[in-house]
Symmetry: C2
Subunit: 224 residues, 2 copies
DNA sequence: AGACGGTCATACTTACCAGTCTAGCATGGG
DNA sequence: CCCATGCTAGACTGGTAAGTATGACCGTCT
């Protein structure tokens, strides 16, 4: 039905910004576009795809016509926003310096980073939105999987596989278990509002994950 | 805003079915109600809460007025349906005979049961619906957590805690890890359509979970 | 000054949807 | 036979939303 870009990055519009001197003009153009995207972000994340274009325009402090002059229709705006959000959260992935850590610290750090997103209203709402719309907009969740989940799990698996201290019999599956335990904690506690019904501290979960993974990895070794 | 029942179980309607001889009448009443609920099930699960009452009536093969004669409004119908669905899936929980199994078989069995629901379109759609509407209808996800997740995790934790063969340092957290790894697998593969982008067999995940949990549990013991 | 382009407010068109209303049809019980 | 009850089809009301159209405003470039 429709299509998400990502990868195809026209930066702003396909308009010709050859000379840097057109800055004044282009800047103002981008400013509106930016305001629209920020308004759309708040409204879409709060109300889901059913949010009205009037509400978005109002939230952005912009006339509805302006929204339609920057984005073809609702789908385009939505797609542009999701692209942007995925881009944003993808950049906050695991960096090179983590790879130098020992296995125990590495897993702990990954877990802490993943769970720290629980506090990010935008992340929690994005998760809810993507899962919720995954029926109507499969491309959306596929994009999420391809750009956020798959790379994350693969990097984690690659680390586990390459690690010399500990031998993992199935690094890919182990990576999925770690990722699943963490993301599901976010979904359960924040997305599904389970933190009151079944509270648990992040540290407690992290400690258990670290212990479990490390013990499992030591199956062939003798270590205290 | 509105309210889900569950617990208040009027079985069918609160109507008096004292004598089995009123069957003819009541049966026909229930038949319509049943048809409506089945239609609503298909349409709500496929399209989300935004599905139209006309579509539901059409799918149920029933006049719209009939829908409104059995259910006050859209919310009531939706609530009744969710109650019904939660009821249905809750009953398929872990039974007593599982508790007799040794730890390894127990965890494996739990995992198999949980993952077997991946094939159930209704379950996958319900998961998507509940998460997706958890912003607009927090009661919905809280009900899900209270009636399906919490009991499941608590039973699992209770088994782990009581188990004599293996010592778990934190059974509750361990139960959450197992549950998270499993449910997240369902969400990733089926709800978010990730099975093509990142395929993995259930058996492989189950084996890793079982190994991981059992090794972790053996930390204080010497067993092959 | 005049043309242009982006923006704004507002109104409009078209479509959909929740919930109601009406009038007719079928059946079963008195 | 008649009436009550549940059902049906379809029209209707009121409200909301996507997307378009209009006309006015304003800074910039020529």
């Amino acid at each position: 039905m429709w299509f998400f870009s990502l990868n195809s990055r026209p930066s702003q519009n396909s308009s010709n910004r050859t000379s840097e001197e057109g800055r004044d003009n282009v800047t103002r153009l981008s400013e509106k576009r930016e305001k629209i995207l920020e308004g759309a972000l708040r409204v879409f994340l709060a109300q889901g795809y059913s949010a009205s274009m009037d509400a978005i325009a109002a939230e952005a402090g912009v006339a509805k016509q302006t929204v339609y002059s920057h984005f073809k229709d609702k789908n385009s705006l939505f797609a542009a926003l999701i692209d942007r959000l995925l881009d944003h959260f993808v950049s906050a992935g695991l960096t090179a310096d983590l790879l130098a850590l020992d296995a125990r610290s590495f897993v702990r750090k990954i877990a802490q980073i993943t769970l720290s997103r629980m506090d990010d209203w935008e992340y929690v709402s994005l998760l809810r939105l993507i899962i919720g719309e995954s029926g109507r907009f499969p491309e959306l969740s596929e994009l999420y999987v391809a750009h956020m989940v798959k790379p994350g799990i693969e990097k984690l698996a690659a680390y586990l596989r390459a690690n010399q201290q500990v031998r993992f019999s199935d690094p890919e599956a182990t990576a999925r278990i770690i990722h699943g335990a963490l993301i599901n904690f976010v979904i359960l506690q924040e997305v599904m509002h389970g933190k009151h019904a079944m509270p648990m501290s992040r540290e407690r979960l992290i400690n258990s994950i670290v212990d479990m993974v490390l013990f499992a990895g030591e199956q062939g070794k003798q270590s205290s």
